[in-house]
Symmetry: C2
Subunit: 456 residues, 2 copies
């Protein structure tokens, strides 16, 4: 993606893109639930929840269908917010081909080297909006993008240190010294591969949605285990935490118009054309009205963490680039997240103002060294979309997980049980807290960290 | 500052600025050392250091001249790197006028309200480059800018909660609810005032340097105490730490081309004209040469925290936007810091490529609630330019401070003694570590946190 592309794509008056040959319209992306839910009905999670007439049913994989590492998964059926459940999930084994075997390859050496593949695991949650298509495409595609990106750098990942040149040819003897000075390690290549995979997947989604005439976007939260490390990549407002006996550790940050305010305002400062004169990039505590004109009111601009006062002018009365607070915060009055996949055609209602230039598809990646962590049998990673975190805090989720697991120590599917317990809890809570639950629609997934006795 | 201004100022081919009336050239900014050093000679700090023939002398205020809060200050004379010591310092009491007394003011009320001023303290270090002028202007100006910015919002600072409207008129009854939802507190106004003051000071420096035909820039590290809080504002690579009996707490982060790589690369992505085709925005472990062409080498772009490989093209052989590692990292091959004041006219040697668009004058501000901290008598804040931190770690500085203070508990000027001890240590270390000390030129200052018994 070049600056030229950015301007052509998003700025008015830029040179027109070369005309594309007309492409036959592809069929719409077919709706589906995650593969591992096949055979599972929509059933209330517990007897208690089923007693409540309005409790929302919890779905999880049928007994006997194991997810990698005996992970648990459960989802609450969409609260009739849209026709389809817009959330999706995916998991599976990652097989990264380590070597390209050419004709000149020494066949004897091949048999001496059984580790032809580097293997890992992959879990992903996608929280869709504006239709289920983007989340379905992401669930179908992102793991393939990641595998491709990892295979492109795998030689560097398995070397003692990523070499300056991937070919292994040493152009300059001092190359390894430069790599060392920059502190580049194998895990940086996995982080880079995750970043590139999200971008590649975003491009695929853009092409597919355009071809099928569909719209929509989704957040993406991905956990990958590889070479003794856990990578958590997040673009959006989902969240992953690690629950241990004495600790709750956040593994991701949320990306919303609020948390990324300065980046978004900065872009609007550099390219005010993106707002088409309809929005103000300044933040005020509330939307200003005519009677605020001439008053000195609290405001923040792109370079400010603190607040100051400014005298209100006519242009400050425009609708704010970022408006609202907490869960209500919206980008251009339209979108509640600032990172994710898709949304290539999304515009502000009844305008030509595009949201995509303000969105990032690139995730933030957290790396956890599982050897240094000395994982215990009861350690659990909880990944969930905002539906869970809107109603339960990290500590509340940790308490639920901790209270369920000890009594089910012998059950290899205990993570599944734990996740169903949480969801039942939410399903009944939602019933009690109807106001909060209106937009609660979430998938949720749990992953056991590898204890020697439990790791398959 | 508007986007329009940004483009006119920095992009080629933008509309020409309106011609300015010729301004009589002002006289150059006169050189000086900080006021509180008057009367102090250049003397080696300790007998031990003075025995070494090449030990660099340490300067500190003469005995009897107390800095606010009995702070200590010491500087090592510039190692003949330039004709003048490019570092500057300033400190003093901040008096913020709380009320504008108009003719309609009730005089009786005035006498009932003795707290006409809000008072605080101010300490600042400026590490100059490209000449001493910018640092001198900053030391002369920044505290006035800050006072002005604080006075503009002081009514909001002394209210129980900053009001939506500074006038105090409540336009809408729900205003305070919006302020509360955004979590806006008095300290956010001080942070905002510090951010605005740095920007205002940067503009003053730009005008003054242009008028006097001088050049240069400086970093700025400022500590302010106000209403029971300590604010540390930093733009550049200086550093402040809090040393306590059992803890060393960083109070600032460094801003260099390395730590701000993604911000700088992002701007070059959005406005490639700023590089005039002479630089590449991509980062490689080392500068690429002709024999790297066609190879797959490690690289990072603006959206990447991790690393990946790319096939080297001709354009990748250009000089990198950010080059080098650690202390050697340079922006456009020219500057070692990415935030600070001044440098308005700085260009890459023999080109028209400007550095200013990549520099931020806005500081990052850390807030320390001194009541929550429960300060102890031996707590010390150490502020120093990179000259100190290049040769001593936070822990080493803490050890020096802790070893000096207990034996001097009765001395009200003990912070001054502690700082001289450190500087002597550096002066002699520099002698021993000549390679490291070449560019060591620093001011350094210590501030006692307010213990009830020591606070004046």
């Amino acid at each position: 993606m070049s600056a030229d592309w950015f301007r052509r794509r998003f700025l008015p008056g830029g040179p027109l893109p070369a005309p594309r040959p007309p492409r036959p319209r592809a069929s719409p992306v077919p709706y589906r639930r995650p593969r591992f839910l096949r055979g599972s009905g929509s059933s209330p999670g517990t007897a208690d929840a089923s007693c409540r007439p309005n409790a929302r049913p919890v779905r999880s994989p049928v007994r006997g269908r194991a997810l990698p590492w005996n992970a648990g998964y459960a989802e609450i059926i969409n609260a009739e917010k849209s026709e389809f459940n817009e959330d999706q999930a995916a998991c599976g084994k990652l097989c990264i081909r380590r070597f390209e075997f050419g004709v000149e390859e020494d066949q004897e050496w091949l048999t001496l080297c059984p580790e032809e593949f580097l293997t890992g695991h992959y879990w992903a949650l996608f929280d869709g909006h504006g239709g289920p298509a983007a989340a379905i495409l992401a669930a179908n595609t992102l793991h393939s993008c990641l595998r491709r990106q990892l295979e492109a750098v795998v030689e560097g990942m398995v070397a003692p240190q990523p070499p300056m040149h991937l070919s292994g040819h040493c152009i300059r003897p001092s190359d390894s010294q430069f790599v060392e000075e920059k502190g580049i390690r194998a895990e940086d290549l996995v982080v880079g591969a995750l970043e590139s995979a999200f971008q590649e997947c975003d491009e695929v989604i853009g092409r597919e949605l355009e071809a099928s005439g569909q719209v929509g976007g989704c957040t993406a939260l991905v956990a990958v285990t590889l070479q003794g490390k856990l990578y958590v990549a997040n673009a959006g407002d989902s969240r992953a935490i690690l629950v241990r006996r004495d600790e709750v550790r956040p593994l991701s940050s949320e990306f919303t118009p609020e948390t990324e305010r300065q980046r978004i305002q900065q872009l609007a400062f550099l390219y005010p054309e993106l707002l088409a004169g309809e929005f103000t990039r300044l933040e005020f505590p509330r939307r200003l009205k005519g009677d605020d004109l001439g008053q000195k009111v609290l405001f923040r601009d792109h370079h400010m963490s603190g607040w100051s006062y400014k005298c209100v002018e006519q242009s400050d009365l425009k609708y704010p680039l970022i408006h609202g607070q907490g869960r209500q915060a919206r980008l251009l009055g339209t979108l509640a997240v600032s990172r994710g996949l898709g949304d290539h055609q999304l515009k502000v209602l009844d305008t030509n103002i595009q949201l995509k230039p303000f969105l990032l598809s690139v995730p933030q990646v957290t790396v956890l060294d599982m050897d240094q962590l000395e994982p215990q049998e009861e350690d659990i990673v909880v990944m969930a979309t905002d539906g869970l975190w809107d109603v339960l805090s990290n500590e509340q989720v940790a308490r639920l997980v901790r209270s369920f697991l000890p009594g089910n120590r012998e059950d290899p599917h205990r993570a599944k049980g734990a996740v169903a317990t949480e969801d039942s809890n939410i399903a009944s809570q939602n019933h009690l807290r109807a106001r909060c639950s209106v937009s609660v629609h979430h998938g949720q997934q749990q992953v056991c960290l590898p204890h020697p006795q439990t790791q398959p």
